[in-house]
C-alpha cells in the first residue's frame, strides 16, 4: 500500500547553485501527483530528494525534512533503506544490458540478498503482469537480454524492476519522454492501474499527460513551487498568474 509524502522546507543545492528553495507540500497516498514546469526548474531534483538519489552527486547538498509515512528519511534512515521503499523510473529506459529479462526484474531482490527461486519466480511474474509486459516477454524471460526489447518495453521492464522490490512510493522522472505515442499511452494506462497500490509522483513536460494521469499537480519555476493543487484546478483555474502563463504556453 502506498503512503503519503510530507515535504517541509526542503532546500537543495548543486555546488553553489540553489536548485530547490523552501519546498513545502503534501503528496497524498495512493494517488498520482504530477510535477510540471520548464526545464531546469528543479522538479527532477525534487523527486531525487525523495529517494535520496540527489546526494549521490558529490557536490549536492540538502536541508529540510521529507517524511514518507511516519519516517523522516533524512534523519531516521539510510539512503539504502529509503531506496528500497521508494522505487524510481528514469527518463531513459535503463535495463541492465548484460542481464536477461528475468534477471532485470529480479535484480532488486537479488541485490538485497534474496535468493529463494520459487519466490523470485512469483515476484517476477507478478511484477511483469503489473507492468503489462508479461504477455510480450513470457516466452523469452531467460533467453533475451533486457536491452533487446523495444524502448517502450524497456521502460515497462524498468517499471517491473522497480515494482519487484514492493515499494510504497514510485517516482517517475519523465518516464515517457523518450517513447513514441503508443508506448506513452501504455505507460499512462499503467500509471492508472498502479496508483491504486502505490503513491506515484510523476515528473512530466507533457501537460496533457499530467492532466490525464494525475489527481494533483504541482507547478515548479526557478527552484520554487509556485502552485500545488488539484489537477483540475491547476489546468482550468490556476490561482497564480505564472502558472496560467505556463499552461497556456506563454513561456517554457
Amino acid at each position: 500500500m502506498g503512503v503519503g509524502i510530507e515535504v517541509s522546507n526542503l532546500n537543495a543545492w548543486y555546488g553553489s547553485n540553489h536548485t530547490l528553495q523552501d519546498i513545502n507540500l503534501n503528496i497524498p497516498a495512493n494517488h498520482a501527483t504530477a510535477l510540471i514546469g520548464p526545464s531546469g526548474c528543479g522538479k527532477s531534483t525534487f523527486v531525487r530528494c525523495i529517494n535520496r538519489m540527489h546526494e549521490t552527486n558529490p557536490i549536492a547538498r540538502v536541508s529540510g525534512t521529507v517524511r514518507i509515512g511516519e519516517l523522516d528519511i533524512y534523519h531516521d534512515a539510510t539512503p539504502v533503506e529509503i531506496r528500497r521503499r521508494v522505487g524510481m523510473v528514469f527518463q531513459r529506459p535503463n535495463p541492465f544490458p548484460t542481464m536477461s529479462i528475468y534477471d532485470n526484474v529480479a535484480a532488486g531482490l537479488k541485490l538485497n540478498g534474496y535468493s529463494n527461486r520459487r519466490a523470485l519466480d512469483d515476484v517476477v511474474e507478478r511484477s511483469l503482469k503489473d507492468s503489462a509486459l508479461w504477455d510480450e516477454v513470457k516466452d523469452d524471460l531467460k533467453k533475451k537480454s533486457g536491452a533487446s526489447l523495444s524502448g517502450g518495453q524497456q521502460q515497462r521492464l524498468c517499471i517491473a524492476r522497480a515494482l519487484a522490490v514492493d515499494p510504497e512510493v514510485l517516482l517517475m522522472d519523465e518516464p515517457a519522454s523518450a517513447l513514441d505515442p503508443v508506448s506513452t499511452s501504455k505507460i499512462e494506462d499503467l500509471i492508472f492501474e498502479l496508483k491504486t497500490q502505490y503513491t506515484i509522483v510523476i515528473v512530466t513536460h507533457n501537460m496533457q499527460q499530467a492532466a490525464r494521469v494525475a489527481e494533483k499537480t504541482g507547478f515548479f519555476l526557478n527552484g520554487r513551487m509556485v502552485e500545488f493543487d488539484s489537477t483540475h484546478k491547476i489546468f482550468t483555474n490556476p490561482s497564480d498568474k505564472r502558472t496560467e502563463d505556463y499552461i497556456t504556453g506563454r513561456f517554457g
Binding site: 529517494n51 538519489m53 549521490t56 539512503p79 539504502v80 533503506e81 529509503i82 531506496r83 528500497r84 521503499r85 522505487g87 524510481m88 528514469f90 531513459r92 535503463n94 535495463p95 541492465f96 544490458p97 548484460t98 542481464m99 536477461s100 535484480a107 532488486g108 537479488k110 541485490l111 538485497n112 523469452d140 533467453k143 533475451k144 537480454s145 536491452a147 533487446s148 526489447l149 524498468c158 524492476r161 522497480a162 522490490v165
Partner: protein, 296 residues
C-alpha cells in the same frame, strides 16, 4: 537549384565517400598484413619440423637431431596460469578501485601513474627486478627465495599483466553509463554491491578482453624469464625448481649453432602463436556462452 549543380555535388560526395572507404580498407590491410606475413613465414619455416615427437618428447642433448619441446609447452602453461592467478585479480581489483571507489583521490592518481609507468618498464628490467627481490636474497624460512624457480617466473609475468588489466578494467568501468549505476542504487543496493554485481558485470566483456590482451602479451615474453624461470631441459612441474618455457626454448634454440635446433625454434614459434590464439579463442567462447540474445 539547377540539376547540373546538384549532379556535380552528388558526384563529389560519392567520390569523397569512396576515397574515405578506400583509405579505411587500406589502413585495415596495413594492420593485418604483418600478422598474416609473420604467420605464413612461420608456417613455411616451422611446419616441416612439426611432428609427434615435437609435442611429446624432451629436448635432445646439443648436436643430436630430433626431440621436442613438450616440457616447454607444459612449462609455459604453468607459468601463464601462475601469472594469470597473480595478475588478473590484482589488476581487476586495482581497476575497480581506480574507476569506482577511489575516483578523484590522490591515492587513485598515484596508482594510475604507477600502473602507466609499470606498463612502460622494459620486460628485461622486470626480470632483473624479480631476480633481485626473490632469487638473490636467500632467506631460509621463506620458500621460493634463493634460487631460480617457476614461481619467480610466474611472478615476473604476473606483475607485467597487472598494468594492462588494471587500466583496461578502469576504462571499461568508466564506459558503463551513469544511468545503469543509478538504476542499481535506485533499487536500494549499497554502493559496493551495485559496483560489484551491476557495474562490473556490465563491463565484463571489455574486462575479459583486457585480460586476454595482457595474457597474450606475456605469453611471448622471454626476457623476464631468463633471470627467473631460467629454463629446464627436463620435465618439471615443481614451482620451486627452474622450469622450461616456449619463448625461452625458442631463444636458446634460435641462437644455437645446430641446424635442427634452429628449425625447431621456428616450429616452436609457430606452436606458441597457435596456442595463444587457441587460448584466447577458448576464453572468448566460454565467456560468450553466457551472453544473451540482444545483449549489448
Amino acid at each position: 537549384m539547377s540539376t547540373g549543380n546538384s549532379d556535380w555535388r552528388f558526384r563529389w560526395r560519392t567520390a569523397t565517400d569512396r576515397l574515405a572507404t578506400g583509405l579505411a580498407v587500406l589502413a585495415t590491410a596495413v594492420v593485418v598484413a604483418p600478422l598474416v606475413a609473420i604467420f605464413i613465414y612461420l608456417v613455411y619455416k616451422g611446419a616441416r619440423s612439426l611432428n609427434v615427437a615435437f609435442f611429446t618428447q624432451l629436448p635432445k642433448p646439443p648436436g643430436e637431431v630430433g626431440g621436442g619441446m613438450a616440457n616447454a609447452m607444459l612449462g609455459s602453461a604453468i607459468l601463464l596460469a601462475l601469472a594469470s592467478v597473480i595478475g588478473v585479480p590484482i589488476g581487476i581489483g586495482g581497476g575497480i578501485f581506480l574507476a569506482e571507489f577511489g575516483r578523484g583521490t590522490k591515492l587513485a592518481n598515484a596508482i594510475r601513474f604507477t600502473a602507466d609507468v609499470l606498463n612502460g618498464v622494459p620486460s628485461i628490467v622486470m626480470g632483473v627486478a624479480v631476480y633481485a627481490l626473490i632469487i638473490k636474497p636467500k632467506i631460509p624460512w621463506l620458500p621460493f627465495t634463493g634460487h631460480f624457480s617457476a614461481f619467480s617466473g610466474g611472478v615476473a609475468l604476473g606483475i607485467m599483466m597487472i598494468p594492462t588489466v588494471c587500466r583496461t578494467t578502469e576504462e571499461m568501468l568508466l564506459m558503463v553509463p551513469h544511468s545503469i549505476r543509478e538504476a542499481a542504487l535506485g533499487l536500494g543496493a549499497p554502493n559496493w554491491k551495485s559496483v560489484l554485481s551491476i557495474t562490473v558485470r556490465t563491463a565484463s566483456p571489455g574486462i575479459i578482453t583486457g585480460c586476454m590482451l595482457a595474457f597474450a602479451r606475456v605469453a611471448g615474453e622471454t626476457a623476464p624469464l631468463i633471470f627467473t624461470a631460467f629454463g629446464n631441459a627436463f620435465w618439471s612441474t615443481n614451482l620451486q625448481r627452474p622450469i622450461a618455457a616456449l619463448p625461452l626454448q625458442i631463444y636458446i634454440y634460435a641462437l644455437s649453432p645446430y641446424d635442427d635446433w634452429r628449425r625447431q625454434a621456428w616450429a616452436g614459434s609457430l606452436v606458441l602463436i597457435v596456442l595463444i590464439v587457441l587460448a584466447v579463442s577458448l576464453v572468448r567462447y566460454v565467456a560468450s556462452r553466457g551472453v544473451l540474445k540482444g545483449a549489448s
